[in-house]
Symmetry: D2
Subunit: 360 residues, 4 copies
């Protein structure tokens, strides 16, 4: 019998959500997903740059779907009009508002980096001084495959970065079952241009990107590194350091990470396959492409919450290559945020996220 | 109060559909839409070239969503396993199978050109000999804005071509209310590459398309012309001839048509705006961008069933320019086909089609 | 015997050129062409925004080829260091400096719109007040196919706009030999994104352009219109008005214009072909693709100074469709400017411009 | 004084060249470069698939520049009409014709893999049986930075593969001066789609490539591996094995290789910089971007013969990351082939290759 999707039919009350920072790409992606979510109503949206304008005037794709006016961030008003908040603000701006939101009893998914690191010294080193470090202990890292239970009980979820999502999912099973040498990991990642945001820069000018492929922040300097190492170290139960090189691809969406590591002596293909199958058993948003299947591509996950993972063992050099593909805006940001919301408020976890990738 | 979408909650029986020709782009697009349709189950899929393989192996984006095996076209089996048929076969191949499907009581939306023309001589002139011309009278042209009532009662709907959808919707109100000179219409249309299908040709090789913009089938020779003229003539209640030039744009999806015409003496901007507003009042899938709004782009309708329409009057030369944008695979093919199905089986007409366009 | 190109071998003195505004795309394109020109040395380059930096640091593609420092515009210094000036400044900025350059005996090709219109009232209407309207009579419109003789004698050449180049070349023979009705011309043009310049705007952000096709400045409001009409009227020896719609294509370079007109009674395909063949006989940078050939595409002229022209007669509607393709930065700006320089200083006219288009 | 290019003025005799396989992308790229080469005449061109047609009909970009008819491969005729042969044939087809060409005294640059490996057993392992393995000793590997002297004396040059060119140039100085551990090399390479050739396949269909980034031939199975390892081992004077993963980028041209390795103990940034500066001193087609400069991108070398190289040391993980960028068709194939020809016939080595990259 052919398998097919079915929208879960529900009754019951809706959740009123506020989106802070709803004029950037992650904000738009939240709007895109939430207008089709059967149990959510977008009750509030803010934007520093577009205050007073209508969201669908600013972004005509949403005409008729999100004719909501951008308001200034007013915590009292948000607490009155909304039950749940997505903070899609720049790094550093979230920590100015999140504590007040929590005090008013709102649940929050924060899409910035402000609450991803558990250690305030590490935050200091990579980002600067944290204004409310006491919340770092409270926040749950919002990668459901790792922290589903804690997310369900959390009031504040720190939504993972896009590169970290693609890399952590690619190696978590290998470290969990101790199949690779932890210090051998090299993550060579490639991202579409939405990862650079909607702000203007020469680096996102069409004619500078088109027909251009390049690396950036090379040499262990990208701010996603501490976040990746924190999570991999927790899984490995020892300190893990990774080499990480991000690249820019002339396309709008998608991240593909090619992750190299050295398997421990005696580890074979069956061990690797079994590790992935076991670790991701019953996971709704990880799809595995084993040694016989074609490897993943960004196109086949575009617009979806899937993380597709494939791998090959290179016997000549004794290296394992894992390839993972996600949509940086969906699984790497807003789709994952909605998944976290579903878990936090008790909805079926795939609600509003269970649709086919955008192809071709 | 902000407007938002809500998936209509329903109970009741599902419709089992068959998709003939499910390995091309319009077939995939049908699958993509239907796996999220709350009242549909894909019960059967055929492909000449992929018989025996699993759809999601052929198209990994659908892994876990459409793990259905391509079967040969067997009318008896289809009649047993399905209630409704989408025929996404090449022109000329549909007419070999559609009569038998109808005889078995199946309702059919045919996405080829085989049943779009009402006049068999016109069919002969542009396509060749028709094998069952008697069905041309029976088939309803599946443009719901024009034929909603007839579609609801139809057993066979001829789904419009992609260019015709974008052009007819751009000028129908103007001809209906007699605002333009019928012989003055020039449609300059630009299409993404999916319009050329998934079959291999040098003309769709990435490196021949990238950074290339070109016209093709110039000079009144494209087969969509008789279909466009048939419908415009019916609206205008007189013979209309149009000049039509298709172009290929280096992008995957989207059609933008720039349609020039001469307004009749005395026709002003208010008349034009009123014509569009009246003609498309309450239409769920037409969005109007009047003289104050920005004109439509293909990006803002990508993946959706919307047709966005804008216009400007050029007083210097006495010409009206209407710009319409659709996604050629969705509104120009499979989305419109699902809309027709919804009408034919009595579902809410926007069911499975009411989601935000794919941006960015 | 196969035909082939040969770089003309020359001795003799070099021309020292100054490029004003050498940090935008037309400035870069001038640098690109001139570093390979056998008789030119780039002696001076200015940029408002990059003063003091090295051109090849700002644009690493030129490393080792144009390690020249951006200087402020200093007319005395320019007069000392250079013999010839390319002004690639914004509209309105050229007229501040061109008179002084001319007074010092420098020859100038101005790539802005400042000297393209012969009538100062027309300039006022479309651009604003002209500061030295007396130069409008002196300047020669730099389209060599029309004004080769005058360009050779000129001290100031107004380099044509990109759209005007593609449109004027497409219809000049038809108006010259009186084959079409002058009021029937509609030019539907499509441009790559370099046409919008290197300045930052949301409209040139990669993710807003990619997969997007749109029209802009619709309804007779684009500033290239008076320039096109001026030249077409001179050729037709009567006032010509055209409808013109520009579009943005998701690619970096290229303009394709699809130009519609009504042939006069009795005009046939042979007349049209003969007009094009006669008008462009021996022209080095126009290539004709007659009714049997494929129509031009932007890819096949990319990076070159060619204008490729093809046409079809639509007998059904009595319309002629001419398609012309150029590279907007080369033939539409800097390549044409170098061609004008060659003519003005007495070099072989194809010097530095005779190379194959960039394919694929 | 600003630096600038100057076409070397020469008199003297021209070289008549034959291009075998002149209908694929490397063949076209040879034509593109050679029509502007001041001392070359294209005297002969073959194509299995296009025999009898005119090259510029098949590829209209060359209209007026390469109006040469494709002939069948006839060694006697080639020997009569040409002095020099570029064989741009598929792997395995070259070895059928190269021995006869050499016997007739023609000099040959072979762009296939047929003569790149020095060891016939290695050839057998990766490609199959070699038909004239005795030529493997005779052939010189055509990477001028490594073998300039031998190339000058060679009659048969095996033009390097595109990936090998980008990877060997990125690590040769490091191995030469013994700065890195030879077994630590991982090359993560990304190529534009022309690398897949002009033959039709679903993998090069525009809509399957656009917005898609993917890895292929993962796990040590790409045929460029033995070639890379052969050359790196010769430089290192010991057996080197590398992990190599190729990827496909949605763009037409360019390869960027990100090469990871472990510096030996005590090796610092200065050693690395000095190694690159020394190794590539006075090389005309390598440009170095040290630690202070931005890293290379494919756009800044497009259409040129340059290999741009940059690097960063990651102190956190003790890894060196070298990034190299080439145009796969020019430096990775046909530009390098012309460079080899220049060396073999005694022309200035940069003749016909010294022009600015294609930007933007």
């Amino acid at each position: 019998m052919p398998f097919y999707l079915r929208v879960v039919e529900m009754s019951g009350q809706e959740v009123r959500v506020a989106i802070l920072g709803a004029s950037g790409y992650t904000g738009f992606e939240l709007v895109r997903i939430l207008v089709s979510h059967p149990r959510v109503r977008i009750a509030f949206a803010s934007s520093r740059t577009q205050e007073g304008t209508i969201l669908s005037d600013h972004y005509p794709a949403f005409k008729g779907m999100a004719d909501i006016c951008y308001s200034p961030v007013d915590v009292d008003r948000i607490a009155e009009e909304a039950d749940f908040v997505f903070a899609a603000l720049p790094h550093g701006a979230s920590m100015d508002v999140v504590p007040d939101l929590l005090k008013r009893g709102l649940k929050v998914v924060d899409l910035s980096a402000d609450y991803r690191l558990r250690n305030k010294d590490l935050y200091q080193e990579w980002y600067g001084t944290h204004k409310n470090p006491e919340l770092l202990d409270l926040a749950v890292y919002g990668l459901p495959e790792l922290y589903r239970g804690a997310i369900k009980r959390a009031n504040l979820v720190a939504n993972p970065g896009c590169y970290p999502t693609s890399i952590i999912l690619a190696v978590a099973p290998l470290l969990k079952y101790d199949l690779i040498e932890p210090d051998s990991i090299i993550a060579d990642s490639k991202s579409g241009v939405t990862g650079a945001g909607r702000a203007l820069s020469l680096g996102t000018h069409f004619c500078e990107v088109n027909e251009s492929f390049k690396a950036y922040k090379v040499g262990g300097v990208h701010r996603h590194i501490p976040e990746i190492e924190q999570e991999l170290s927790l899984i490995a139960r020892k300190q893990v350091r990774i080499a990480f090189t991000p690249h820019l691809v002339p396309m709008s969406r998608g991240i593909l990470s090619t992750v190299y590591s050295r398997p421990r002596d005696g580890v074979g293909e069956k061990d690797i396959e079994e590790a992935f199958r076991t670790f991701y058993r019953d996971e709704p948003f990880v799809r595995l492409f084993g040694p016989e299947a074609e490897l993943p591509s960004t196109l086949q996950v575009r617009g979806s919450n899937y993380c597709d993972i494939g791998w090959r063992l290179d016997r000549r050099t004794g290296r394992l290559i894992v390839v993972s593909a996600i949509d940086n805006l969906t699984r790497g940001a807003s789709g994952q945020a909605v998944w976290n919301m579903n878990l936090m408020v008790g909805f079926p976890e795939n609600m509003g996220l269970q649709y086919a990738p955008w192809q071709p």
